[in-house]
Structure formats: structure tokens, C-alpha cells
Amino acid sequence: MVKKKCVAMLLAGGQGSRLSSLTKNLAKPAVPFGGKYRIIDFTLSNCTNSGIDTVGVLTQYQPLLLHSYIGIGSAWDLDRRNGGVTVLPPYSEASGVKWYEGTAHAIYQNINYIEQYAPEYVLILSGDHIYKMDYAKMLDYHIEKNADVTISVIEVPWSEASRFGIMNTNEQMEIIEFEEKPANPKNNLASMGIYIFNWPILKAYLQIDNANPNSSHDFGKDVIPLLLSEKKRLVAYPFKGYWKDVGTVKSLWEANMDLLNEESELNLFDHSWRIYSVNPNQPPQYIASDAVVTESLINEGCVVEGSVEHSVLFQGVHIQKGAVVKDCVIMPDTVIGENVYIEKAIVPSDIEIPSGMTICSDDILLVTKEWLQAQNLEKVEKG
């Protein structure tokens, strides 16, 4: 194998249980986002745009769709003779089958994968976040600061700091303390779950951590505190720009709505930093004579005959005559029937909202098949 300067390890095995039934059959990184993407497209595109061409994708929870979506990585130009994308699910060995028990354990189990490329640096990423970031700049910073570990951080509002892993730093941006969800935060620099390690250090500490029966084998909870206690040089890399963990139905909806904001920092139209995705090969969208479309993002293959305001429509969605769709996210191939009124909702893929229905609530509603059936039952009982 050809030696690589930096290998990326992308953690994509998470369930994202707070996304409710959206992640019943697929891993969180595979959840649709932004009219044509899946969440993992952002991290994979960041890798390719940053010149990182060797990416191990660690999968575990509901991997079928994720595996077929990633394929050999051609959509992100990561189908390479040397390196490229390698999907790394848990495997069995002579001593038995080992599920990934934590983020650090998942990397530990794939030390052999990384060793093939004899890298100087390993970039640890999560497939759960929406952001655009040049990892090459972070790597330059890591080298310049002569760090053992560099952790990317973002300023969060002080009021929300207690929800994050907070890095307490000195003036040189050296990390002196790490606090997971502190009740009284001393700082508002939150970890983005993006780490660059010098590979020899990472390898050594993964082995130490793995031998510790009391460890939960998690980077944030175990490995980073251990490195700090051993006085290793940990440096914070301040990131400015859009970054969102779409962990809940509400935050997924908000992140989609952010794209409709003219001032949004997340620009999908930037040709120099394309977000790549697997192409659905559908014809252009058709907007009919009676349609009204404003403040919306609409993908190929859509047919709009009704009214779409401030919404995100994925490929192949059909909005029938007289329907009003407002502040919604409509996922691929879903049909909104005639004269439906729907507001503030996320509708997953392949669902048909029957004609004439009104869906409107104060909270963001996830309109699933089960929810629709329950509505039907209620109607029958009342009727």
C-alpha cells in the first residue's frame, strides 16, 4: 500500500434514537437532508474537498442502506486505486464477534486498516453533523502547533454550553480541561467531535484504553481525559461557520429551514466546495400553471401543482392540485394529495398523504405511516 499522510476515520454507526422513526430502518448518517443529500454527504464531501482520499467508514447500526449508498465512493470521487472509501463494519475474529462498544473501540478494532497506510496523522470524524470544513487547514494548524491531538471547537451560546462537551483552554488554545456537559460551564467552546491525532499516540492510547475494563471506550469520556491526565499536548482548533448536530426531529427540521434563510452560512451553491451525493437520475422539476412556489428548495423529479411556501422538497415529490405545503420538509417520492393543508411537518419518503387532509400542529410533526393510520382509526371511531 502507498503511504498516506492522513487517514480519515468516519464514525457512522450511530442510531440517532432521538430522530424517532426516521432512523428505524437506517443509520442517522443516512437520514435525508437538504432536498437531495444524506447527512453523511457533508463529511464525505469535506474529505474529498480537503484532499483527504483515504476514508474508513465505521458502520454498525442498520447498515444496509448506508453501505449501498456509499458503494465504492464514486459519488464523492473517493473510488481510488490507493485508499478511497472502505466501509468497516464490526467483524468476528478467533476470539469471538466484537461489536463496536464505543467510538474509541471502533477505531481500536480497525488499527490494522489504518496501519496499511502508515499515516502520520489520523482524522476522526462523525457522520452526524451538517457543516462545511477544510480539514487540510485544521491539519496545518495541528502541525504548526506541534500538537499531539487537535480538537475542533465551536463557540456555542453560553446558555446552551451545558449541553456540550466543553474545552477549557489557555490563551495559546492549549486544552487544560475537558468537561462533558458541565452544569456551570467555564467556557463556551464546544467539541465538534472532530479530532486529529498523531497516529503513534492514538495507537498507543487506544491500546491502553482497550486494556482498561472500566472504560466505556469513548473518545470524549475516556481517551481525551486520559491524554489530558498524562499531560499530552492537546490543542483546540476554533472553527467559525455553520455547524449543526441534527440529533432530533426538531433540529433536523430547523437545519432544513436554515437553508431557506438568505443569510444562511451554509451555502450549497458554492462551486468551490460542492456537496456531492448519489444522483437519483430524475428529469427536471415541473411547476404547473396553477402552482405557487416561494422561498423553497426543490429537487429534480418533483411535480408541483399546488402551493409550496418555505419548504424543502426532495426528489420525486408530487404536490397535487390545491394542496398547500408550508414550512415542511418532504422526503423523496412522497405524494401530497389534492387540497391537503400541511404545515410545520417532516414527511418521510414514500408516503401518500390522502386528499383533503389537514395537518397542522404547534410542534414539528413527523408524519409517518403509523401516524396516518392512527388518524384514520380516530376518524372511524369518531365517525
Binding site: 437538504g34 464514486s74 437520475n281 427536471p284 422539476q285 411547476i287 402552482a291 412556489v293 416561494t294 422538497l313
Partner: protein, 342 residues
């Protein structure tokens, strides 16, 4: 292997009436239907009919065609065996009044000799439709035809099925027989060959002039038409561009239009076809027009019956007006300013 066909696309055609759109590209590479090139239709039809070996014979201005097709990956034609072949004509002086000129094929005869496919399908590059060539072949075999010609309402679509061995004979003997192309053979009645017709049902557009280009483009806005062209089970493939979804701002008004990805629509668009990554500025009204990829239309413009080729910049406050028969065509990569049209 018995029912396998070679796909042969004759892209040598030059068309005077399409000249304004073919100064920098071959007819096969003319943009159509918001995100496609003309050749995508015949190529996708072949792929969807199970054809795995496709040879393209280009002649003029084929840089953009090659750029579009690449390795054939987007059509699943980057195969170890067979796949996509590109056979430019080494001699620009060969006369080619008709599709399927044997002299063009003769220059690349090795391809035909090496191929194992029993049948060959010869098509032009500018007929837009969604057709299953397996059905044509089945009829051809069932009726024991020598050559089957696909027709639509009595008119030839310049698609021919024949045995590869017969094609080889016709190529080898063209000097003796006087048949210079497959069209010559089909039109002549002095031979013993059984020529059959196959009537295609479904939408067809033959793009052979600016007027027809404009007319057929506008027809696509009828849902009954595009439903015949864009069939879910037989998709039309094209080069992937990774454009984001199209953005409609608060001031956008869009009626009866086909719009590709990556556009930013701030103005008024009616009865129009908008290609990928086009920007339509605020206060601008675009009616009955075709705007090709990456063109930028400024603010407060009025465009009616206009074809704007790719990479055009229309500055603010510009008025452009064409007619049904003679749409106003703006050439690729040019700038249309307010001062220019005064």
C-alpha cells in the same frame, strides 16, 4: 448472446438549420429538456434495452460530446468487456448525406469484426423518444426481416435493426452495390432483402432546426408529453453535475415551467425551460423561452421567445423578443447588455 445487439450511433450529422446552436458542439451534444444532451435519449434507450456495446461515430466539433460522455460511467457503460466506443472519422471529406454511411463504418471495421453480437442497431443522434429496442428486435426476428426500420406516423426515425453479418456484407461491398448508407439500402427496391417497418407509439421529437428545437421544447411542458418521455422504469441518464436543489426566493413566480437543479429563481418564469445552475434576477420576466446551463439573467429583464445558449450573461434591464418561427437565439458565452440592443 443470440438476442444481443450492437448499438451504433451515427453522430456525423451536420445541420445547417441548427447552426446557431452547433457552432461549438455537434448536433448530438445540443442541450435539451433542461438537463440533457440530445444523445442522452438514444444512449439511454440503448442501455435500457440491454445493449452493452455502443459505438459512437462523431465527425464535427465533438469535443463537447466527448466531455459529456467521458468513460460512459453515467450510462453504466464503463465495462471491462464491451461498453462505450468512440470512433471519430479520420477523414472529414467522406460525403455523408444519410445516416449510417458505410465508409465511416469501414474505417473502424475491426470493431464490427471483433464484436460477437448477432444483431446491430443503427440510430441517429437527434431523435428524442423513449423506446424499447428489444421489442423492435423481437418483431424483426419473429417476422424474419432482413432490415427493420423504426417509423413514427409514417416518417422514418432513422433507426435500423439488422444482423451484424448483413451489415458487414453491406460495408464490404458498398463500392460494388452503390449503396453508400443503410438509408440507401432501405430506400431501394431492386434487392432481395426483406425490409420491415416498426411503428413506434409514444412521443417523438426530431430536432433538425431551430424552429423544431423550440417547438418540441415547448411541447415538453405538457405533462402528457413528458410522462411519455420520462418513464420511471426506463430513465434517461445524463452526466451528473452535483448541483444543489433549485432555490426559489420570496419574489419568485413560476408557472408551467420545467426547471433543472442548481438554479436560483428570483423573478417571474412562465412557459419556459430552465437548465441547470441558471440565475433569474428580481423583477425579470421570462416567458416562452429556453435558458441553457449556467446562464445568468439580470434584474428587470423581459425575455419572450428566446433561446439563450449556455454561459450567457444578460445584464439588467434587457429586453429580448423572438417569434414562434424565429426565436431570438443568444450564442454561447456572450454578453447581452442594455446598450447592445438599442
Amino acid at each position: 448472446m443470440n438476442k444481443m445487439m450492437l448499438g451504433i450511433i451515427d453522430a456525423t450529422t451536420y445541420m445547417e438549420p441548427l447552426q446557431q446552436l452547433t457552432l461549438h458542439r455537434s448536433v448530438a451534444a445540443v442541450p435539451f429538456a433542461g438537463r440533457y444532451r440530445l444523445i442522452d435519449f438514444v444512449l439511454s434507450n440503448m442501455v435500457n434495452s440491454g445493449i452493452e456495446s455502443i459505438a459512437i461515430f462523431p465527425k464535427y466539433q465533438y469535443r463537447s460530446l466527448m466531455d459529456h460522455l467521458g468513460s460512459g460511467k453515467n450510462w453504466d457503460l464503463n465495462r471491462k468487456r464491451d461498453g462505450l466506443f468512440f470512433f471519430p472519422s479520420p477523414d472529414l471529406n467522406i460525403p455523408s448525406p444519410h445516416i449510417g454511411a458505410f465508409q465511416h463504418f469501414e474505417q473502424h471495421i475491426d470493431y464490427f469484426l471483433r464484436s460477437k453480437q448477432k444483431y446491430a442497431l443503427i440510430c441517429n443522434s437527434y431523435t428524442v423518444c423513449n423506446i424499447d429496442y428489444q421489442a423492435v428486435l423481437k418483431r424483426h426476428i419473429d417476422n424474419q426481416c432482413d432490415i427493420t426500420e423504426v417509423r413514427y406516423q409514417g416518417r422514418s426515425l432513422e433507426m435500423f435493426v439488422l444482423e451484424t453479418s448483413l451489415l458487414l456484407d453491406l460495408i464490404a461491398n458498398h463500392a460494388q452495390t452503390g449503396y453508400n448508407s443503410i438509408v440507401d439500402v432501405v430506400r431501394d427496391h431492386r434487392h432481395q432483402l426483406k425490409i420491415c417497418d416498426y411503428e413506434h407509439h409514444g412521443y417523438v421529437a426530431v430536432i433538425d432546426s431551430i424552429e423544431h428545437y423550440f417547438q418540441h421544447s415547448m411541447e415538453l411542458l405538457d405533462p402528457a408529453v413528458w410522462r411519455q418521455l420520462f418513464v420511471k422504469s426506463r430513465p434517461i441518464y445524463t452526466k451528473v453535475k452535483d448541483e444543489p436543489p433549485t432555490k426559489y426566493t420570496a419574489s419568485a413566480v413560476v408557472k408551467n415551467s420545467m426547471i433543472a437543479n442548481g438554479c436560483i429563481i428570483e423573478g417571474h418564469v412562465e412557459n419556459s425551460i430552465i437548465f441547470r445552475a441558471v440565475k433569474i434576477g428580481k423583477g425579470t420576466v421570462v416567458k416562452n423561452s429556453i435558458i441553457m446551463q449556467k446562464s445568468q439573467i439580470g434584474k428587470q429583464c423581459e425575455l419572450d421567445r428566446v433561446i439563450i445558449d449556455k454561459d450567457v450573461k444578460v445584464e439588467n434591464d434587457v429586453k429580448l423578443q423572438g417569434t414562434e418561427q424565429q426565436p431570438f437565439v443568444v450564442r454561447k458565452g456572450t454578453v447581452q447588455g442594455e446598450m447592445i440592443n438599442l
